[in-house]
């Protein structure tokens, strides 16, 4: 009998304990981790029983490893596509050298999904994926950044080096005056059009407009987006989630963006949905919005459909986590790797890791591996 089987709710305490140990946390955090896994994995409206999270059950020691599954519905033209994002890959330390992680990943990659992906892999996991036939999404494994407030950026960097969290730097009012003088050079000119709150309905209406350039795109429904937006609100990515719809001067929907903005800290972009000339307008609204909310830098992951604008903006490139994909369908793989897909962090698990959630007391290293 295979030691690998679908995860059931009764496994969560054991899995959370493995996660806590691996991440150097107190066992007292296990109930909070269980709550996270229940809400973010089991209660995910896109969860698919055909592509479950998996556990490795040792005959003597019980559950000694797990891999979490976040299934996302996409459409390629009119064809439904299931993309399975692998969440934390866990193995109990005394079983890790037995290859438990590799066996779990191997089994997960062979699941019913059309594509498997991860957007937060460390080097060891990247090597494992490549060994199992996965591909590195080169563009999406690079981050971009643009400083919005240089004095605040430098002061914030110093504060973080001194161990303070992302947030307003000491002397913030004085720094704000310095940065106000620099903002004319650093911020894009005010673009035409307007912005409003991005609702599930608005995002669902927007995406089909992108289909000519982005044939593969999320197939959202309102129930899923309600859940997703509620999860964004409790994520532990520093800052508050900001969701905006951008309209051009004629009131036509031009694009949308989703980011986390930390006043005095970094704005982390998780999705820009726009194509062609609308990218610049959407991007410019987003950058100015981040600056107006007090971010000293804006960062995101390189998406191929944004590349030309990132280049025009002279954004700096930043090393980031590996984005990896695996599929037996070469055409689908080519669509993703060549950038004809709206394949963003919003649909991945980069921002969903347990260490990034507010209910968990301390931040720490990802438990992948």
């Amino acid at each position: 009998m295979s030691p690998i089987r679908p995860l059931v709710p009764d496994d969560l305490a054991a899995v959370a304990a493995i996660y806590a140990d691996f991440d150097g946390r107190s066992r007292s955090e296990v109930p909070r981790l269980v709550e996270y896994f229940e809400r973010a994995v089991l209660a995910d409206p896109a969860a698919d029983p055909e592509i479950p999270s998996l556990v490795y059950e040792d005959r003597g020691d019980g559950v000694v490893g797990a891999i979490f599954s976040h299934v996302r519905r996409f459409t390629d033209g009119e064809r439904p596509v299931r993309i399975a994002f692998s969440g934390p890959l866990l193995a109990r330390p005394d079983h890790r050298r037995r290859g438990v992680g590799a066996l779990l990943l191997r089994r997960y990659l062979a699941g019913a999904q059309d594509v498997t992906a991860t957007d937060g892999a460390v080097d060891e996991v990247q090597a494992m994926w490549q060994g199992l036939g996965g591909s590195t999404h080169a563009a999406a494994s690079v981050g971009w950044g643009r400083v919005l407030a240089p004095a605040g950026f430098v002061a914030g960097g110093l504060a973080r080096k001194l161990g303070e969290r992302n947030g307003p730097a000491p002397g913030a009012p004085l720094l704000a005056k310095v940065d106000a003088r620099a903002s004319g050079r650093l911020l894009p000119a005010a673009p035409p059009g307007s912005v409003s709150e991005l609702t599930p309905h608005a995002l669902i209406d927007l995406l089909p407009r992108l289909k000519r350039q982005l044939s593969l795109r999320p197939a959202y429904d309102e129930r899923y987006l309600d859940w997703l937006f509620s999860e964004l609100a409790v994520a532990r990515v520093p800052g508050d989630p900001v969701r905006r719809m951008v309209f051009d001067g004629d009131g036509r929907p031009a694009g949308s963006y989703v980011m986390f903005v930390a006043p005095g800290g970094i704005a982390q972009v998780v999705q820009v949905a726009a194509v062609g000339d609308d990218v610049a307008m959407t991007f410019d609204h987003m950058v100015r919005d981040a600056a107006a909310r007090g971010a000293v830098e804006i960062r995101g992951r390189v998406e191929t459909h944004l590349l030309a604008h990132l280049r025009r903006m002279r954004c700096r490139m930043i090393p980031t986590e590996w984005t990896l994909v695996h599929s037996d369908d070469p055409a689908l793989l080519a669509t993703i790797l060549s950038g004809r897909a709206l394949f963003t962090r919003l649909d991945g698990e980069w921002w969903m890791q347990p260490h990034t959630r507010r209910p968990v007391a301390s931040a720490g290293q990802s438990a992948r591996g």
């Binding site: 290859g99 438990v100 590799a102 191997r106 089994r107 060891e124 090597a127 199992l132």
Partner: protein, 89 residues
């Protein structure tokens, strides 16, 4: 052909893929710390490539993957179950 006939080829593969000289075909690779997740992935991939079939997913038993001798027997049995016949050494 039995697993025993494949053992020298498996020892050779381990040396090629993991850069490890197996002391004896009975050496426990797990106890010796020679197999971790990355090594296992590399070894499985190389075995599948070398013998041109897929090792089973469902009943992959790590305890039958501890020594070169066991791996050879596992490969022979898996290949037979897969219907590709016993791979040649």
């Amino acid at each position: 052909m039995s697993g025993g006939d494949l053992t020298p080829r498996i020892v050779e593969l381990i040396a090629d893929v993991l850069q490890v000289e197996v002391p004896t075909p009975e050496t426990d690779l797990i106890d010796a710390g020679l197999i971790d997740s990355l090594a296992l992935v590399s070894l499985i991939g190389e075995i599948e490539h070398e013998f041109a079939f897929l090792l089973p997913l469902d009943d992959f038993d790590l305890d039958r993957f501890r020594t070169a001798e066991q791996i050879a027997a596992f490969v022979a049995a898996s290949a037979a179950a897969d219907g590709v016949g016993t791979p040649a050494a």
